[in-house]
Amino acid sequence: MGNREAKSAAWRGRSAAAIVLVLAGAAAVVGAATWHAIPVLVPPAKTAESSSGSETPGPAVEPPSPVTPGDDGAKGPVVLIESEPALVREVTVGGVARLPSGDIQRTYSGQAPSQCPT
């Protein structure tokens, strides 16, 4: 009788643990897809690189301002709130990096890389 009860208790414990894990995993996936968002700094696009493809040289422009947090200037980085799935895609191509300040910054401007750099 005791052995049967012990087995029953172990079985119930295992079942409960499995169900809790499945629900927790599903909740984490749903939460990542719907709620979890991460701010990413987008460096300003270089104005010397014209997207129109014009042959005439444009006016001389200043180099892009260094990306620093709290930069309120017109040339400062844009803060983009990315969902976690979007950030997962970004990391697969090395598209984001962590700054010494702790902010996350996109490593490219314009078209994203196509392959992981590692």
């Binding site: 643990a17 894990l21 392959q115």
Partner: protein, 286 residues
């Protein structure tokens, strides 16, 4: 119930190679969808141009470097591990499939001591989590910079593509090539050496083998401790003693013995065994 031991692999085990091949076709992104915003539960590098999903280990390492909790990767691993446990390793993983195919070459194989399976946890904690967290993605020991799957599936693919196109060949770094060579060489003389020694994803799924929905179980009333299952196990595991060994990839070779089988938490036989009253107890009143 008397114990029987089949001389041939059980039918479920014989189907395994076809299931692995079917999953491989899925992971290789036949429709070029490149859903890299979704994590797969298997070890397949997202640097591979044919990868459908993102590698969960790569995502864990990258997010560790960013100091961001990867809910998507963690949730995927917990969800899949909680349901299937070690079955993912033995039935779905393409890198495991490659190891199984190479190991079929008739070369003498050797076993490693059971404690070597814990080196996977060192790889998981150090190379996947700690090094990226403290030193960033550019550190030489960042997991993706030494991963043989990335070297093979991404690096070698790019080398082959460059050879075909006649362009400059982007050779992977020497450490990556050396690690790949050692791992592939070990595949000839040991069943699943990467899985047994170094795979961080296998280390994660190994944690779920005692609590997953589907699992292997030894019937203590049928088992006669003949040790034949240990002889059939290719991974040096004693199924009759430790059926939930973290190194087990659920190849099901040990299920030749009728005492070992696949169970689930919803198994009717187990439920009946748990709820049936003892035979010596009086019947309930009508």
């Amino acid at each position: 119930m008397t114990r029987t031991f089949s001389k041939t692999s059980p039918e479920s085990a014989r189907w395994r190679v076809w299931v692995q091949a079917a999953f491989l076709l899925v992971w290789l992104d036949p429709f070029m969808l490149r859903l890299h915003n979704v994590c797969s539960p298997v070890f397949h590098c997202y640097a591979c141009p044919l990868a459908l999903f993102a590698c969960p280990i790569g995502v864990l390492a990258q997010f560790s470097a960013l100091h961001v909790i990867p809910l998507l990767a963690i949730g995927t691993l917990v969800l899949v591990g909680g349901i299937f446990g070690g079955f993912v390793c033995g039935w779905a993983c393409p890198f495991g499939f490659l190891q199984d195919l190479i190991a079929r070459i008739p070369v003498p194989k050797f076993h490693l001591p059971s404690w070597t399976g814990y080196t996977r946890y060192a790889v998981l904690v150090l190379l996947v989590l700690a090094v990226p967290f403290f030193f960033g993605e550019s550190h030489p020991l960042f997991f993706c910079r030494v991963c043989p799957a990335g070297t093979l599936e991404g690096g070698m693919y790019n080398v082959g593509a460059a050879i075909v196109k006649g362009t400059d060949i982007p050779w992977p770094s020497a450490p990556k090539l050396i690690i790949l060579g050692l791992v592939v060489g070990a595949m000839f003389v040991k069943w699943r050496p990467w899985c047994a020694l170094l795979c961080p994803l296998g280390a994660v799924f190994g944690l779920f083998k005692r609590v997953s929905v589907f699992f292997l179980r030894v019937d203590p009333e049928t088992c006669i401790s003949c040790s034949l299952c240990r002889e059939e196990c290719r991974y040096g595991i004693a199924p009759d003693k430790q059926i939930s060994d973290p190194r087990c990839v659920h190849c099901l070779e040990c299920t030749r013995c009728s005492a070992i089988g696949i169970r689930s938490i919803f198994s009717r036989a187990e439920t009946a065994a748990q709820t049936a009253p003892p035979s010596d107890s009086p019947p309930p009143p009508e």
